[in-house]
Symmetry: C2
Subunit: 250 residues, 2 copies
Amino acid sequence: MHPLDATRALMEGLGSESSICMKCGSRSVGLCAPLDAAALDDMSGESERLAFDQRDAIFRQGDAARHVYTLTEGMARLTRVLPDGRQAVIGFRFAGDILGFTPEAEHAFGAEMLTRGTVCRLDRRRLEQMFRRYPVMERRFLDLCVKELSASQDHILALGRFSAEERVAAFLVSLAEAQERRGHVGPVFDLPTTRADIGEFLGLTLETVSRAVSSFRKRGWIRLHGHSGIELSDRNALACLAAGEGADAA
Amino acid sequence: MHPLDATRALMEGLGSESSICMKCGSRSVGLCAPLDAAALDDMSGESERLAFDQRDAIFRQGDAARHVYTLTEGMARLTRVLPDGRQAVIGFRFAGDILGFTPEAEHAFGAEMLTRGTVCRLDRRRLEQMFRRYPVMERRFLDLCVKELSASQDHILALGRFSAEERVAAFLVSLAEAQERRGHVGPVFDLPTTRADIGEFLGLTLETVSRAVSSFRKRGWIRLHGHSGIELSDRNALACLAAGEGADAA
DNA sequence: CGGCACTTTGATCGTGGTCAATAAGTGTGG
DNA sequence: CCACACTTATTGACCACGATCAAAGTGCCG
């Protein structure tokens, strides 16, 4: 395994760049790629497009899982809460990702927008129909699901074994890679998450995240541009830290 | 969500009590339940039974993923290693569980026996054939996979938000529930893991696990029987601690 | 009985959490 | 355009949980 695979997968989720929405933008590859025109036609017309503001909930933990969503614009976070109020961010999702797919009756986590954006919503029963009609689609869901499982396990490894700075470095590198995979160019990336969000994702407090970021800045590894821009000036240094240093600094 | 759902799922993995092995014991329910006799016949005869000693590797991280396994006797741990040598136990598996199913070319984690036991091995291409012939089986894999994903997310929450004692309590309760789900009766459970294994699963050192266990013992919550027997004398206390205390001590 | 692996317990240290004050952005209305 | 309120970020001081280092203790197998 390449040293960065763990961190690379850290933020990737179910269906990166795999929209299930036919009419909502050009990213409709992945899941639907194996379908023919008739199948696409079959499915489109059923999905609704919804607009959300920053901090709006797309769905909440415990809601009846009646729909499956495709994030078409913006960035969202997935959160899970404990009965005593403690909560954790279990992942972030970007344009093109699928949200809220589950065979269970209720959503096991909530999804909230970090930016304003749009979402496409497909009735779950409709998706089940599609599965019956086009089994290849179901297989793609299975593959994506196993991939996400693998990413979760990497996150488990990070939470259990990485120091605070290693986790923050891994997060920043993953964020950059996720944006590049979606066509971003240039050294300045978007960081729409608050320190608190990052902390809840990494199992740290917002102060610790802030200290790590400051430390990277003082070392010249990153530069902040405004309130939601971040430049990775020494990405290799971050990547090494994220992967467990001494291993193989390629 | 019930307060214990998180901890309950903590140790459950892909295919609890869902053997894919036809000739290896009576637990062949779950995955194959929807198949008819002809289908079962179709698949049996292809699987091989293998015996392992304690600490033997069933497969290693990075191995070509040529087979899918069903653990038929004993208990195993799944481990993932970082290039710098740090490793984490990402889960435990019991009799009836499925191991090593992945659409990838290589296993993303290794599996080792904690006890001596037996495993049934099915060629992966054979399984793919089965999927094509009996699509309902593929759907069951998808469902199990989503369940496991949910369990991983609970573990993420535990690692990120639980204190050392909470994690150990959650582990013990989950262990007991996993054994009960497999037919175990009585207050004394099997604890075939070393303190180091538990620590690597929970992101703690073996000393911290030992201290938590001692502390529970002194409080009268548990009692140790020999080297691998544990009695949960005050399970409710453990469960409360595991779920985040004050919530709802039913 | 000795050897070995695992566990327990203690003492000390350090990372990261907590509490608190200040600073820097961001958005709104005058 | 600036003043003000508000949110988010930074930095510092202190503290606690759990890691680390070290030494006995326990049970198991040859």
